[in-house]
């Protein structure tokens, strides 16, 4: 029998600490697969965000460093400028990238830093226990929007990808999701392309991935996965947000 699918070598043999139904473990696996397939493990450095995924270095067998809350892109910028041959990516959640790190996000993208960002959007603060995120949907219940997010009081969900697409240094942004096998495959393809943009030295690239957080959404895993397609994609539509590579998909 031919083996068609196996554990990526770059995924350490450890049990994930993530909750049942969480999207991080899938995205970690996709990253490990892409880095392995593109043969980048000897020249790649990942910068983790604060939040549940701060322990990503426990699972990915590559050089990784931690950044302070929101500062991932500044750290990645410094690393990339000091060592332009190194492939650098940040792995950030919505609180990290779109709240405390908004300034770093906007300016790193605008400078067109040759880095790649994996932006995991689950519309809530996970590690701190389910508070409102900048991407929390209107009427969504969180521990700090107990009556549902009200635009008059808490503002609207920020569409980071659309916002960054306006900036000159941004080359490629795509929004994907990990709520179905089809979308998971698309996500992998998108991550691959985002790295290729960096390898080609074109500018800033980002993949926004809609991911479930069943515990903080107070849903069963299956219900949470369905909620992405039913509710989140209404505010955050999937697809290519910006692509000026002038090429077809890298693979």
């Amino acid at each position: 029998m031919t083996k068609v699918y196996s554990r990526p070598k770059l995924l350490k043999k450890k049990i994930f600490h993530y909750c049942a139904g969480c999207g991080h473990s899938i995205i970690h696996r996709l990253l490990a697969e892409v880095i392995e397939e593109m043969n980048l493990q000897e020249r790649i450095v990942g910068i983790n965000s604060a939040g549940c995924s701060v322990f990503a270095y426990d699972y990915l067998d590559i050089d990784m460093a931690e950044a302070a809350h929101g500062r991932g892109m500044a750290v990645a910028t410094g690393l990339k400028r000091a060592s332009p041959e190194t492939i650098v990516f940040t792995y950030q959640g919505d609180g990290d990238l779109a709240a405390i790190g908004t300034a770093e996000t906007v300016h790193t993208a605008n400078r067109g830093e040759r880095i790649t960002t994996i932006f995991v959007n689950n519309a809530v603060y996970g590690m701190t226990g389910g508070q409102m995120a900048p991407t929390t949907l209107l009427a969504q219940l969180t521990t700090t929007t107990p009556y549902g997010r009200d635009a008059r009081l808490e503002g609207h969900p920020i569409r980071v990808s659309e916002m960054l697409a306006l900036l000159g240094g941004v080359v490629y942004i795509e929004r994907t999701a990990v709520d179905s096998p089809t979308n998971i495959r698309k996500t992998k393809k998108s991550i691959r392309k985002a790295f290729q943009v960096q390898i080609d030295g074109l500018g800033f690239s980002m993949v926004e991935i809609l991911a479930p957080c069943p515990i903080n959404w107070k849903m069963e895993p299956l219900e949470a996965w369905q909620w992405i397609g039913k509710e989140m994609t209404k505010v955050f539509p999937l697809g290519v947000i910006k692509d000026i590579t002038g090429q077809k998909d890298a693979d």
């Binding site: 493990q41 067998d61 590559i62 460093a65 500062r71 410094g78 400028r81 492939i87």
Partner: protein, 355 residues
């Protein structure tokens, strides 16, 4: 090399480049902009080097973090309010044991403050400043030449102990033009630190982290840092003395205040007063043993600072009751004159019946 006439901020820039500084990230703030501009002129197009005018001090210090991860010599600079913003990053640099050089050309505060020279960031510089149990080496130059020499030393110390090193200057030092001799040539090849993070080629992958849910791991990091700090205390304390051999009163001053104090002491000596100067060059670690040694002869210590009395606490700790301290300070960016300090010295001197 012949002496050149340069402003203090540019001196730091030139000395840093000659020390092999490959990356500079900063955000403009007066009175240290000449340094940022010097780096823009001399580093931004240099092969293998990088300069970024960051979007904030927060971003700048975290770019320093990134470049230090990549194993190069890296520097940032700011002035007092900007230094407050950098404290988060400095705490992370200390925790991750990442060498880096951070310059504070301080000004009068608190708050936005004045743009004139002050020494009111002593506590912030020497006590850690950011969160957590850590220290940074703090060097306090008092002249253009010391700016050049100590900038070079700062990079060496940072690498030797894998620690962030602060240069605590002030507005006058940064702006003042003086003849300076640079004693080193810039290295032809820029070295990469052996533990750099550039991808796991030919070795196991590496993690640079501060976060742990394990308290005993965190305690071990704190002990390990503590042991290194003790080593620095044994090896690196530096201070200058001036006319202390027969002195009955010692003026303790650092940085530009020590320069002013020298003028006052020359004046005092001309008037027959036995006064000397102790100038700590490393503010952390503080030259406590030297203070104690001087107290064997001189019983009176006039601590003169351009603040409301911060270093005086370190002097008192070092004396541990052995000598009597007086304080004279001018905060807010007011720059006292040597004759003003001389009057203060004379008053205390005669009041104690030392004539």
């Amino acid at each position: 090399m012949a002496k050149v006439l340069m402003d203090g901020n540019s001196v730091i820039g030139e000395a840093a480049i000659r020390a092999g500084c490959q990356c500079y990230f900063g955000y403009p703030i007066t009175p240290q902009n000449e340094l940022t501009e010097y780096m823009a002129n001399h580093l931004s197009r240099k092969k293998g080097c990088a300069f970024i005018q960051a979007e904030s001090e927060l971003a700048a210090i975290n770019m320093v973090f990134g470049a230090s991860l990549a194993g190069v010599r890296v520097m940032t600079s700011s002035s007092s309010p900007g230094m407050s913003l950098k404290q988060e990053g400095i705490s992370y640099l200390a925790s991750c044991e990442l060498p880096s050089v951070i310059v504070n050309m301080s000004r009068g505060g608190p708050g936005l403050g004045t743009i004139s020279a002050s020494q009111s960031d002593y506590f912030q510089a020497t006590r850690g400043g950011g969160h957590g149990d850590y220290r940074t080496i703090v060097l306090a130059p008092s002249s253009g030449q010391e700016l050049a020499d100590l900038t070079h030393r700062a990079f060496d110390l940072a690498d030797k102990y894998r620690i962030p090193v602060l240069i605590l200057g002030d507005g006058i030092l940064g702006q003042m033009m003086e003849p300076v001799e640079f004693k080193h040539e810039a290295p032809a090849e820029l070295p990469v630190r052996s533990n750099a993070l550039r991808g796991a080629k030919g070795r196991a992958s590496r993690i640079v982290r501060t976060c742990t849910s394990n308290t005993s791991d965190m305690e071990e990091l704190n002990w390990s840092l503590y042991r290194r700090y003790q080593l620095i205390k044994e090896e690196e304390i530096t201070c200058e003395t001036f006319l202390v051999e027969d002195a009955e009163m010692i003026v303790v001053s650092f940085g530009i205040a020590a320069r002013i104090a020298r003028g006052a002491i020359k004046n005092a000596r001309a008037n027959g007063l036995k006064v000397g100067l102790l100038q700590p060059v490393t503010l952390w670690p503080f030259p406590s043993a030297k203070v104690e040694e001087l107290a064997n002869r001189a019983k009176y210590f006039l601590v003169f600072e351009m603040n409301m009395g911060q270093m005086i606490e370190d002097v008192q700790l070092a004396l541990n009751g052995k000598g009597e301290t007086f304080f004279y300070g001018r905060p807010g960016g007011v720059i006292p004159t040597p004759s003003e300090v001389f009057r203060v010295i004379s008053r205390h001197y005669y009041q104690k019946g030392l004539s």
